[in-house]
């Protein structure tokens, strides 16, 4: 049992920052929310979405590995995720070009992902969150390897997502740049 007696709720347009020391269960919590780990008990729900859609299908999950193929170009990778994740018209969000513009990768569109730096790969992974709309973003250390300017750009994208009524649950050690985020501290006495 990694997590026990944990309860939280998040209303539309809010962000939750999950903090705690290494090994406290931040990533475990996110994977359990995404349905990638079985829960021993308890329930998770998302109110107000389409009734037949399960929570994982309404979530973006971003972990340490970014789900991109090194052999394909940035554009090919994002074209694929755009087609695979945005299947209905209301899931279409930004075009691939616009998403790459938001994270500042417009100049390396046709470069193979494998030649990019760690920070650029991370920005390409963040662009995946923008090409298809999901109400819930589950982010595990989203700011790893990002420079100052990219963090500000991504903070702006997160604020815009919240303004659209989206939810964010992020596990991080660093400030996300979201002023009104709730905080959930794991691994402490509570």
């Amino acid at each position: 049992m990694v997590l026990d007696r944990l309860s939280f709720s998040l209303s539309s347009g809010r962000a939750l920052v999950v903090t705690g020391p290494n090994g406290a269960g931040k990533s475990t919590l996110l994977r359990a929310l995404a349905g990638l780990l079985p829960r021993a008990g308890g329930s998770v729900g998302l109110a107000g979405g389409p009734p037949e859609a399960e929570l994982p299908q309404q979530a973006h999950y971003l972990a340490h590995s970014d789900g991109m193929k090194a052999a394909l170009t940035v554009e090919e990778n994002l074209d694929f995720w755009s087609a695979y994740l945005a299947q209905t018209p209301d899931q279409r969000n930004r075009t691939v070009e616009a998403a790459l513009g938001v994270v500042g990768l417009s100049h390396v569109v046709s470069a193979p992902l494998g030649v990019l730096s760690a920070g650029q790969k991370r920005r390409a992974a963040l662009a995946r969150l923008l090409v298809a709309f999901r109400p819930l973003w589950l982010l595990d250390e989203p700011l790893t390897a990002l420079d100052r300017a990219s963090r500000d750009k991504f903070a702006a994208a997160m604020r815009e997502h919240c303004a659209q009524g989206g939810l964010i649950v992020a596990a991080t050690h660093e400030p996300l740049g979201l002023e009104e985020a709730k905080e959930l501290a794991l691994g402490s006495a509570g």
Binding site: G35, L37, Q57, A59, Y61, S65, G67, A71, F80, L85
Partner: protein, 223 residues
């Protein structure tokens, strides 16, 4: 590219073509296996003509398995597999499309190369046609059965050998009916239709069952 499954096929195809040309690698392995057999059994044309279909089938089986071990492992390592779990498209369909793209990139080149290698083994025209027809029908079953092994060993580092151990016994029916149909095509007492029809049935059964088995293994190991 609008359809998600078409997009997945295109992505898998591009990755397969770009990473070391795994299709070409499989064909070269196939060629090497077929080329070393006469060194082992001797260059007697009658003997080679008789065992040729069996050699081509075993070589195709091993070449297919050689290329399969990274089918899901690459996706598990780069995180794509987690995203396939989350997506609306059922994992079974994603597995099926990945197998289809993998077969198109690695299985189909084997089928195309088989008649040329058959010439090295003293095969008659009818025997060549038999080998090509049985490989065309049978290699998708090998890919699909192999996908179960690839899914079951997705968390094992260097799981290629373990995968071969798991998968080879399951491919025996494909091998039996593939080889007997290929041999029947060049004459003999057994009619071509019966083993070929059973081979077709095995492939259809694999098409219906293997994506579910592989997806179940991926789900179980993902947890």
């Amino acid at each position: 590219m609008s359809s998600p499954l078409a997009a997945l096929f295109l992505r898998e195809w591009r990755v397969a073509r770009r990473i070391g040309g795994s299709g070409a690698m499989g064909v070269v392995f196939f060629l090497t296996l077929v080329a070393i057999v006469p060194f082992a059994v001797g260059p007697d044309p009658n003997l080679l003509a008789r065992i040729g279909p069996a050699i081509l089938w075993i070589a195709a089986l091993l070449a297919t398995l050689l290329c399969l071990d990274r089918l899901f492992q690459a996706d598990a390592e780069d995180g794509s597999l987690d995203l396939f779990h989350l997506a609306e498209t059922p994992l079974e369909l994603a597995v099926l499309v990945k197998c289809a793209a993998h077969w198109a990139a690695t299985g189909l080149p084997l089928v195309v190369a088989a008649p040329f290698l058959g010439l090295m083994l003293q095969q008659e025209t009818m025997a060549l046609l038999g080998v090509v027809a049985t490989l065309l029908v049978g290699t998708p079953a090998l890919t699909l059965i192999g996908a179960i092994g690839a899914a079951a060993t997705v968390t094992v580092r260097r799981g290629g050998l373990l995968m071969a151990l798991l998968v080879l016994p399951l491919t025996i029916p494909v091998l039996i009916f593939g080889v007997s149909a290929a041999e029947a095509a060049s004459g003999g007492t057994v009619p071509f239709d019966a083993p070929f029809a059973i081979l077709c049935a095995i492939t259809l059964a694999a098409l219906a069952l293997c994506p579910f088995a592989a997806a179940a293994a991926l789900r179980y190991l993902g947890e």
